[in-house]
């Protein structure tokens, strides 16, 4: 069985935020794939101001990614504007709960800038239970390590460069202790 496993986190910061996402590793039968194709597939840049990343089973992440891109483009056509990240999070939550008794095995992390550039981050479990947070959210196989690393390294009101450093260090130190994720990371700035 092939599982694409990844670890993600989003850190909150007054004016912009980052989603850091390490290149996923496909586990089972000791297969691994090059980072970049998986990242671009799992990561939606839905609007200029909000993004989401999907960890968990690769096939469901790919299917969900395609469905979300479709729904967001439809929204853009109808409303002639971009979706706010809060709205997008509710959409993802609804789509996941639709499959309550046969779920997508995916844990999304969503980050974006809402009205007045107010940062918004949230994560969900595989049936769409939203978890909003003020400071950071994490998901993936190394999530326990990430909780610890972020809790230790996070400070409120960090500037861009410091936030970048913090999120990278937290991510790398967590995935280095996880056999199922690694091979580096991508940090996306919103």
């Amino acid at each position: 069985m092939f599982i694409s496993l990844s670890t993600m986190e989003a850190l909150w910061w007054p004016w912009s935020e980052r989603i850091a996402s390490p290149s996923p590793v496909t586990a089972a039968s000791a297969f691994s794939f090059r980072p970049s194709p998986l990242i671009s597939r799992e990561f939606t840049r839905s609007t200029k101001r909000s993004s989401s990343a999907l960890s968990g089973l690769a096939t469901d992440a790919q299917t969900l990614y395609q469905r979300l891109v479709f729904r967001h483009k439809l929204y853009q056509l109808r409303e002639e504007r971009n979706m706010k990240p809060e709205t997008f999070a509710s959409l993802v939550s609804a789509i996941l709960y639709e499959k309550r008794f046969g779920p997508y095995f995916c844990q999304p992390v969503i980050a974006g800038l809402g009205d007045d550039n107010k940062p918004f981050i949230c994560t969900m479990d595989s049936i769409g239970a939203k978890e909003l947070a003020k400071d950071f959210v994490v998901a993936g196989t190394a999530s326990e390590s990430l909780y610890g690393a972020c809790e230790a390294m996070f400070k409120p009101d960090m500037e861009a460069e410091e936030l970048f450093e913090t999120i990278s260090q937290a991510l790398l130190s967590s995935v280095d202790r996880d056999c199922l994720s690694g091979w580096g990371g991508h940090v996306y700035v919103v």
Binding site: S4, F31, R41, A58, T59, Q62, T63, G102
Partner: protein, 204 residues
Amino acid sequence: MECVFGLVGKGFALVVADTSAVHSILLHKTNEDKIMVLDSHKLMGASGEAGDRAQFTEYIQKNVALYQFRNGIPLTTAAAANFTRGELATALRKNPYSVNILLAGYDKETGPSLYYIDYISTLHKVDKAAFGYGSYFSLSMMDRHYHCDMSLEEAVDLVDKCIIEIRSRLVIAPPNFVIKIVDQDGAREHAWRESIKDAPISAA
């Protein structure tokens, strides 16, 4: 166990598959072709449940042909790969196919490409890939010896290295392999690597 692997070289892509048709402990035949030619410039090597393999690859082949008839132009390799993934994904939670696929193709604009689609419809565009127990050996050999833009001689040499490893180290190693190539001149059989010769039979 079925061994299928493939790699991308300079201006071509190779797909290699074993040619044993196995039913439990019985080897029916050793010249079963598991790499289907989808159209002039696409190859689909498949491994898995025998009935699913034959049925699903034929289904994809006929749909690729239908697209060409309807629209007058052939599908790109990426489009065919995404179509295949879509079919597998739709069937996944209804009546799943147990087929692993390596789809190789050549497009004039983008050159050769190889797509890995496993039985739960995970799609990756890759330079080298393998399925089955043979993958334990062929992936390691390819990790060691593969580099970008290999010439045909180098690539076939690497394929032979992988086949030698599979034959010497896999406990129930398939005796025969077929190598198919796709490049700007089209998709075709390149070579066989046989250690057992079946009596020739007329086609069904």
